[in-house]
């Protein structure tokens, strides 16, 4: 779908190339993560694909067409683009921002409005935000708008330059998980630049590791690279704990969740005690049907109806799409014994440190 051939960029005033004879094939529907140390030429490579930077030499083919031979504006309108600074247009409403490329392509207003409505659903935004201006949104919401805007004209190719770099870690994990799922359903051809190894492993079908000067050090599936780093550089770049990094490849839901000591609020004290005993714990999780209410201390069970006990919130709540790496970080940093997995309020199961550790050694 995208083919880079001997791509080279030497910036004027510089003697060493920023990108050196890079050759890469990116298949249709594949998400390739470009990763490497700061200044290694990731952004330069990405921007050559939509010709924001003109290559010094080499060939770029996008969807079978020579990218150099297409008028640059036409090329760019057929490629979705998300940058780290988000770059929403401050003077345009969210709806207008999302509709940018369709309106450049001359779609009529109703078609644009329909498409915007659809995308708001896709990226998980509120409809009421459509009339607002970007400055009225949080960083995470703005980044969602950035993704929606890139997807607007349904381009086959998506270029993303550290798209989740500007948001805080918790929001970033959520956005990564959602993007992972989105990519599964949309099947775009994605080139995703990041400097975060876990993100590259989690999102990439293949990872391209670049050395300084834009030299391709290794290009393969994350599992392969983790198992067999091609060089000292790659090994050192991935850092220690390659076993831990594998966790980024797995979603929480893959870890075999347990139900844990959870009962419905309608349960009687005997059942509650039996469940705690069976799980060998001194606390009890409360559910209202499928919905998670919280937990209560074992000593309070039996003192009154479960319904009347005021449950406390769990320290760590995960989404089933989060990576196990995210789960591990959350559990360790919060000193929690368990993490509960909840999708839109619905309880899916729980996970403890041992369950995660089991996945590392496997």
């Amino acid at each position: 779908m995208i083919r880079l051939e001997n791509l080279r960029k030497v910036f004027s005033g510089s003697t060493r190339p920023a990108v050196t004879d890079l050759t890469m094939d990116i298949a249709r529907g594949e998400c390739v993560t470009l990763i490497g140390p700061s200044g290694c030429g990731k952004t330069t490579t990405l921007k050559m694909i939509n010709r924001i930077i003109e290559p010094t030499s080499g060939q770029i083919t996008v969807d079978g067409r020579n990218a150099m031979a297409i008028p640059v504006h036409e090329l760019r309108r057929s490629i979705g683009y998300v940058i780290q600074q988000i770059g929403l247009f401050p003077h345009r409403t969210i709806a207008q921002n999302i509709g940018t490329v369709p309106s450049l392509l001359g779609w009529d207003d109703t078609r644009i409005a329909d498409r915007v409505e659809e995308l708001v659903e896709t990226v998980g935004l509120d409809h009421e935000m459509l009339g607002r201006y970007p400055s009225e949104l949080s960083g995470g919401q703005q980044q969602r708008v950035g993704v929606a805007r890139a997807l607007a004209a349904d381009p086959p190719v998506l270029l993303m330059d550290e798209p989740f770099g500007a948001v805080d870690p918790i929001v970033r994990n959520r956005l990564q998980a959602e993007f992972h799922e989105l990519q599964d359903s949309l099947g775009k051809t994605v080139v995703f630049v990041t400097h975060d190894v876990d993100e590259a492993i989690f999102l990439g079908n293949r990872m391209a590791i670049l050395e300084m000067g834009g030299i391709l050090a290794q290009y393969d599936a994350p599992e392969k690279i983790l198992a067999e780093p091609a060089s000292m550089f790659v090994e050192r770049f991935l850092g220690g704990e390659r076993g831990l990094k594998r966790l980024s490849l797995l979603a929480v839901i893959d870890a075999g969740l347990e139900r844990g000591p959870f009962v419905d609020v309608t349960a009687g004290p005997e059942e509650a005690r039996r469940v705690m005993e069976a799980n060998a714990v001194d606390w009890l999780g409360l559910l209202d049907g499928d919905r998670l209410l919280g937990w209560v201390d074992g000593s309070r069970v039996g003192s009154s109806q479960l319904r009347d006990l005021e449950p406390r919130s769990f320290l760590v709540t995960l989404d089933s799409r989060d990576s196990l790496r995210t789960a591990l970080d959350a559990v360790v940093t919060s000193h929690a014994r368990v993490a509960v997995v909840v999708d839109d309020g619905i309880y899916r199961g729980m996970l403890d440190l041992e369950a995660i550790a089991g996945e590392v050694t496997e």
Partner: protein, 221 residues
């Protein structure tokens, strides 16, 4: 207690009533001189700002020349222009316009320069042509700064118009000058107060204009 021996009241309302026609006429003159000068200043500034943005090296000489114009005392500038264009409205407009240039150009260039690089990069990446990007991204985003420049230029010009009284024009300045010559306080006060009121009204007008044209900038700055 009453003040004894005060020759004339500070404000002679009767004079104002008798001269309403003239006040209205001078209002139009004042507004006309201000509007023509600021609009002309805007047109010239846009041209110069486009040159300065296109060829960066021209910005320093442009601000140097317009800055120099700005420092010439207004009375001197009117006098300097008399041998060239005479004692008339053209003289006044040339001088007044030249005072607006520095402020408007600086705000135009600063406004365009203030557009975040992320916005221009995103616009390029979405497939905007350079021209479309300029008119649909950079200009609207620079609008608050541009309007701020026009606002200062306008208020300054309203004040300066009074000085054109020496050319036989002056808008409200006409009353001030004649009042000073005849020690007639009412005329001086009418000239000063109306000039301040006009400047304030125009100032408020620009604030409103900014709100209407740049609703997205509300609550910022």
């Amino acid at each position: 207690m009453t003040l004894v021996g005060q020759a004339a009241p500070l404000i002679d309302w009767e004079w104002i009533g008798r001269n309403m026609d003239q006040i209205v006429e001078r209002t139009w003159e004042h507004l006309g001189l201000t509007a023509v000068s600021v609009l002309l200043g805007l047109v010239i500034s846009v041209g110069l700002a486009i040159i300065a943005l296109r060829w960066r090296w021209t910005y320093a000489p442009i601000t140097w020349v317009t800055g120099l114009l700005y420092t010439i005392p207004s009375l001197a500038l009117f006098a300097l222009l008399v041998p060239i264009v005479g004692l008339n409205a053209t003289n006044a407009v040339i001088a007044l316009t030249s005072y607006t240039l520095l402020i408007i150009i600086r705000n135009l260039v600063a406004g365009i320069d203030g557009v975040p690089a992320s916005v221009t990069e995103a616009a390029d990446g979405m497939g905007y042509t350079p021209q479309a990007r300029f008119w649909r991204m950079e200009v609207p985003l620079a609008l608050p700064a541009i309007i701020a420049g026009l606002r200062i230029a306008t208020v300054t010009t309203v004040g300066l118009v009074t000085v054109t009284a020496v050319l036989g024009l002056g808008g409200y300045g006409f009353f001030i000058l004649r009042g000073l010559n005849t020690f007639f306080w009412t005329q001086i006060l009418v000239g000063v107060v109306l000039s301040v009121v006009l400047a304030t009204l125009l100032d408020v007008g620009f604030v409103w204009l900014e709100r209407v044209l740049s609703p997205w900038a509300r609550g910022r700055q």
